[in-house]
Amino acid sequence: MPRRTAFSAQTLSVLAALAARPSDWRHGYDLARETGLKSGTLYPILLRLADRELVEACWEEGEPAGRPRRHLYRLTSDGLPAATAALAAAPAPATRTARSGRPARPGRAAAPRRLAQEGP
């Protein structure tokens, strides 16, 4: 039987954050605050999602005062239905995270389910 590839809990939380405001460009620190993920986890996830063409990335236009230009992300036209389907198919919020076995942070695992129920 062929294996089915599903998204991890961390990826689902990123997809949920992006799918909550699909037309908005989001920056990394904003996503990190919303999902509770560290940069070392968040950016590889964004990178792989971009490789799969589920997320598009671009640099902020113009030269903002007092800070460097930001790298921005949002779901692609293929990414939005894929995210919605993945979130709908996600298992019930677990009390522990998939990787570490530590208790999940409030809102972290619950976000995908909530979004799946409400829709993007």
Binding site: M1, P2, R3, R4, T5, A6, F7, S8, A9, Q10, T11, H27, G28, Y29, A32, K38, S39, G40, T41, L42, Y43, P44, I45, L46, L47, R48, A57, W59, R67, P68, R69, R70, H71, A98, R99
Partner: protein
């Protein structure tokens, strides 16, 4: 703290340059956002995450581990050569023989990867960390074997074949014979494909046996160097799980056998039969374990007969490898037990086939497999 943060930002900027063009902007993105993160530990953690991203994407860990492995093997080989040149009496035939043994082993370790630098029996190395670790550890153990033989000859004045004086023609003929034995299979298969493969294997085996009888340690060094490269190459028939099972159980068997040798050894050699029995039993039992584990870990979607056959094959390979590893480890501790480098793989193969067959007919209950590549995907 501020200085450390600036330092890490600089390191991240430098590391980003190592990344391929499509990946560079991602590391720069982390750095660009660092100013938004509260100063202190949070910002430091943010930059460290970016550095981790750069390390992952540039495959730096793999490069670092690879070069550390190369340096380790080269240093051990150089040490073995130096040790053989430091022996007490350069004029003594044993010293010359040891030098040749060490040089043949080192030449095999250096030459075979060059032969297999393209896709072939000996290379390139498999992508798994297990294959790389086994290749490095095996090469180091082989250099250690040379050192063990040199030390033994220096300390007690005689080795396994130490009484035989050095003969240059014998060494040359033996190495040529070994080359013929190794090259016969691919050459005949290419030029005369109609020749029966059983005949070829029998011919190669007989040639190998002759070489083994003439210059056992040199032949074993070359055979083991080739074996290490072959089982860890990308085209190896040994699955990564079987490689890990064979290496781990073989290491345990080798250490247990060494303990048995040192624990039961007496000046009057009273317990030699008991020592031999213990060593054989340990090799066989851990060969069975390696075979069973390799067989259980072999998963697949083929029809039941095919998967059973594949499991038994992996069990046999893992058991042979466990026996070979046991032989090398034991010989590193007690060079006089070098015969285990021949008997070990045979005992291990028997045990592995037995364990693999039993496990193939009693498979484990399937469990959902998991992967945590960057915490990105899970499999169910």
């Amino acid at each position: 703290m501020e200085r450390l943060t600036r330092l890490l930002a600089g390191v991240l900027r430098a590391a980003a340059r190592w990344l391929p063009p499509g990946r560079r902007e991602w590391a720069e993105a982390v750095r660009a956002e660092a100013d938004q993160v509260p100063a202190g530990w949070p910002r430091l953690g943010w930059l460290a995450g970016g550095l981790w991203l750069a390390v992952r994407e540039a495959e730096m860990m793999r490069k670092v581990v690879y070069w550390l492995g190369v340096v380790t093997v080269a240093a051990t080989a150089a040490w073995a050569v130096r040790l053989s040149w430091q022996a007490s009496s350069a004029a003594h035939p044993l010293v010359v023989t040891d030098r040749v043994r060490v040089l043949v082993g080192v030449a095999a370790l250096a030459g075979l990867p060059w032969v297999g630098r393209r896709r072939g029996w000996f290379g390139p190395v498999g992508t798994s960390i297990t294959a790389r670790l086994v290749r490095v550890a095996g090469s180091v153990a082989l250099c250690g074997l040379g050192m063990a033989v040199v030390r033994m000859d220096r300390d007690i004045g005689g080795g396994p074949h130490g009484a035989t004086p050095f003969s240059l023609p014998r060494e040359i003929v033996a190495v040529v014979l070994l080359g013929v034995a190794l090259a016969a299979l691919p050459v005949v298969r290419t030029r005369w494909p109609q020749v029966d493969s059983t005949t070829l294997w029998v011919f190669s085996g007989m040639t190998g046996a002759i070489v083994l009888a003439v210059v056992p340690l040199q032949a074993l060094a070359i055979i083991y160097a080739g074996g290490i490269l072959a089982v860890t190459s990308r085209r190896s028939p040994v699955a990564t799980t079987s490689l890990a099972a064979g290496a781990m159980t073989g290491l345990a068997a080798g250490l247990a056998a060494a303990l048995a040798v040192y624990g039961l050894n007496t000046p009057d050699d009273r317990y030699v039969p008991l020592i031999l029995l213990s060593v054989f039993a340990i090799t066989l039992l851990l060969g069975i374990l390696a075979g069973a584990v390799a067989s259980w870990l072999r998963s697949g979607t083929e029809d039941p007969d095919a998967i059973r056959e594949a499991r038994i094959r992996q069990g046999l390979l893992a058991g042979s490898m466990a026996g070979a590893v046991c032989g090398v480890v034991l010989t590193n501790f007690a060079a006089v037990a070098f015969f285990m480098m021949v008997l070990g793989p045979l005992l291990g193969a028997a045990g592995g086939a037995l364990g693999g067959t039993v496990a193939a007919y009693h498979p484990r209950k399937p469990r959902p497999a998991r992967s945590w590549a960057a915490g990105l995907f899970v499999r169910s």
